[in-house]
């Protein structure tokens, strides 16, 4: 609840800022809107009308940013996980240590977590098929732990992050080549509540 209110107020502040920036042109947007969506094309012949309103398009761009944030908050957990704001962190073969690229991904994911402080996540540790089924259960656990530890070092609260290992049970790429293996050695972020 509190999260929603703060987000709403952020949106309001952003809106008022953009409105102020637009200055005297602020009554124009309603007029500007009809032009881009393509109202004119169906009406055939008279094309010469559009040129003047293009200047009024300036105040509009800031708004989609606010809407995008709202959109993420409004989407269901399933939708969010299907097109996730989190990126997976990848690991080298037989390793549970985050390299520079992996740390960069986790850092970016941490900032998403800070943006949405109500979200809880599970970090899934996955492995490629080149390890054994049994040992990979432990290796996946270590990968998930490595990510959680790094998230905690970035200030994310421990009770927001759960971990689970799936070993090599759920490959993301069913292939049997280097590319498939690389994409299967990952820590996968799943939003579990928000």
């Amino acid at each position: 609840m509190r999260g929603m209110i703060t987000r709403a107020s952020v949106v309001l502040v952003l809106l008022s800022l953009t409105a102020a920036a637009a200055g005297c042109a602020r009554r124009q947007p309603p007029l500007a809107q009809p032009a881009p969506p393509g109202g004119p094309p169906p009406t055939t012949a008279p094309a010469p009308t559009p040129p003047p309103p293009t200047t009024e398009a300036l105040p509009v761009p800031p708004e989609p940013i606010a809407i995008a944030e709202d959109g993420i908050s409004a989407r269901s957990i399933e939708d969010l996980n299907r097109d996730s704001p989190f990126k997976p962190a990848y690991f080298p073969l037989d390793s549970a240590e985050l390299d520079d690229a992996g740390r960069a991904v986790v850092t970016a994911n941490a900032s998403v977590l800070r943006t949405y402080p109500a979200w809880m996540i599970t970090v899934e540790g996955h492995c490629d098929e080149r390890g054994t089924a049994e040992y990979n259960l432990a290796l996946g656990e270590r990968r998930a732990v490595a990510v959680k530890t790094y998230l905690l070092s970035l200030g994310i609260a421990g009770d927001r992050v759960r971990i689970v290992s799936y070993g090599k049970e759920f490959p993301f790429d069913p292939g049997h080549d280097e590319r498939a293996w690389a994409s299967n050695r990952r820590a996968h972020f799943v939003i579990t509540s928000k």
Binding site: E78, N81, R82, D94, T122, R130, G131, T132, A133, E134, Y135, L137, A138, L139, E141, R142, V145, R162, V164, S165, Y166, E169, F170, F172, V190
Partner: protein
């Protein structure tokens, strides 16, 4: 006691074998019949009618005792059928006689399964059945054409007959020594017609016991994890196949589904009494231990949730379970009593410690650790002391599986080229031998209760399937074909 009379005479037992197909209604039952026999002893029975089926068994107890001990006694010469010096005895298993058309299917099944069971231990040479065509069929035991069998080079021939009344069958079987023309094994079984394979398995085990003093595995079971039901997990974005625990006969027949929770259910292992299967399940969203008492329809949760636990393994006496857990922040080995009490931590190292297996005496545990940088096999006392490293020349070794006595060895999966091969470490000599040689990737070895075979998974036929192989690397057989199948465990 006159052994010869016993074996050539009308020794007849009435073991009520077979039962309904629903595993929840079945149970392995120790009956008085088997008390006199030291090693393998169970009969498949309907629970509620057990007492009614066990009449008259006391009559044959003496004979069965002889069956169990015969090979150690001087009079065995009359009983044990030998082949030419240095070669295994040559066995013929002609078609069992069907007393009526309704018994034909059961007779055919029993014949084929008995042939396969007798071949499995490789103690006998089974004369191929397509060479029997010219030999006249015997309708009764006294019609067995010994001269013809002798011409074919047989040392032993089985005579069997099957009669059927409604849902009940009666199976009579004799084993003849071709040279002496004597019946050295003669039994009769009655029971349900629902699972004719069980009669063949029982006959094969008893013949192996009597003729070779060998505990056969024809009545043992495999438990494994499988995606064969082709169900998808719910609540996940990706398409994820569930895996459920299944059991089947040692040859893959009669598969039965044990779990039905539509999650990941992995690494099932048999309890030593073969009445329970412990396994790793993600039904709570994370790995935890569960126990299915398969003949009672009861589920137990020894670790009771709240912590992540996986890869259980029963101690040889069945009283304890060793497993991997990250409850203290890192994969370590722990032991609990079967009821979940008495938790004890076995390992304590910041590296991964996982995949435990017990020594046959229950005093040591072999496991996998990457404390030296790569996964390798180690042994530690069940008290957590006396750690030592076993594998030193492998780049990656996992799933140690300690053999039963009398063998003193540990099988494991070793990285080999792009995949894995099954290798065996001999604890007496410290040497390692290879069992598989790069046909697909081979993982997850599990010993048969007599130590003579290993079950393992392989990709040699495409998807991951379960195979069995002799501990010498010979006699590989594919056991599963439906879906993909993983992490076999072989019952006692």
């Amino acid at each position: 006691m006159n052994m010869r009379n016993l074996w050539s005479g009308n020794l007849t037992t009435f073991a009520k074998a077979g039962s309904r197909s629903d595993p929840a209604r079945q149970r392995w039952q120790d009956g008085p019949l088997w008390r006199t026999v030291p090693v393998v002893r169970r009969s498949f029975m309907r629970r509620r009618k057990v007492s009614g089926y066990l009449v008259a068994l006391a009559l044959v107890a003496g004979g069965l005792q002889a069956s169990g001990q015969a090979p150690q006694q001087p009079s065995e010469i009359a009983v044990v059928i030998s082949g030419d010096p240095g070669t295994p005895p040559r066995y013929a298993v002609p078609d069992f006689v069907a007393a009526s058309p309704e018994a034909a299917d059961a007779a055919k099944t029993i014949t084929q399964v008995l042939f396969d069971d007798l071949a499995f231990e490789r103690e006998f040479y089974l004369i191929p059945r397509d060479t029997y065509a010219t030999i006249p069929a015997a309708r009764t035991p006294d019609q067995v054409p010994f001269a013809s069998w002798r011409e074919l080079g047989a040392d032993a021939v089985v005579f069997g007959s099957v009669s059927r009344t409604g849902n009940d069958v009666r199976v009579e079987v004799r084993l003849f020594n071709i040279r002496t023309q004597q019946s050295v094994f003669s039994k009769e079984y009655t029971g349900t017609a629902a699972n004719p394979r069980l009669y063949a398995h029982t006959i094969a085990d008893e013949i192996h016991q009597q003729q070779r003093a060998l505990r056969g595995v024809a009545r043992t079971k495999l438990a494994f994890s499988s995606d064969r039901n082709r169900e998808r997990m719910v609540g996940t974005v990706e398409n994820r196949d569930v895996k459920e625990v299944y059991m089947a006969d040692y040859d893959g027949a009669n598969p039965r589904r044990i779990t039905t929770n539509r999650q990941l259910n992995l690494t099932p292992v048999w309890s030593p009494d073969a009445r329970a299967i412990a396994y790793t399940s993600y039904r709570r969203g994370y790995p935890d231990l569960f126990v299915a008492l398969i003949y009672d329809g009861v589920q137990q949760e020894p670790t009771k949730g709240g912590t992540q636990n996986w890869l259980p393994m029963y101690s040889p006496d069945g009283t304890r379970i060793v497993f991997t857990s990250n409850r203290d922040g890192n994969p370590e080995l722990y032991v609990i009593n079967r009821d979940g009490s008495g938790l004890r931590r076995i390992t304590n190292h910041p590296a991964i410690d996982t995949t435990p297996t017990w020594s046959p005496t229950g005093t040591q545990i072999a496991f996998t650790s990457d404390r030296a940088g790569t996964p390798q096999i180690y042994i530690v006392g069940a008290d957590g002391l006396n750690l030592r490293r076993l594998t030193t020349s492998e780049s990656y070794a996992d799933r140690p599986t300690w053999s039963p006595a009398p063998f003193n060895e540990i099988a494991f999966a070793a990285r080999s080229g792009p995949g894995y091969d099954i290798k065996v470490y001999d604890l007496a000599t410290g040497t390692t031998r290879q069992v598989t040689f790069g046909e697909g990737s081979n993982e997850s070895p599990a010993y048969a209760p007599n130590g003579r075979h290993l079950a393992f998974t392989s990709t040699r036929a495409g998807r991951v399937q379960i195979f069995t192989i002799g501990r010498d690397g010979r006699g590989v057989k594919q056991v599963t074909r439906d879906g993909s199948n993983f992490t076999p465990s072989w019952s006692n």
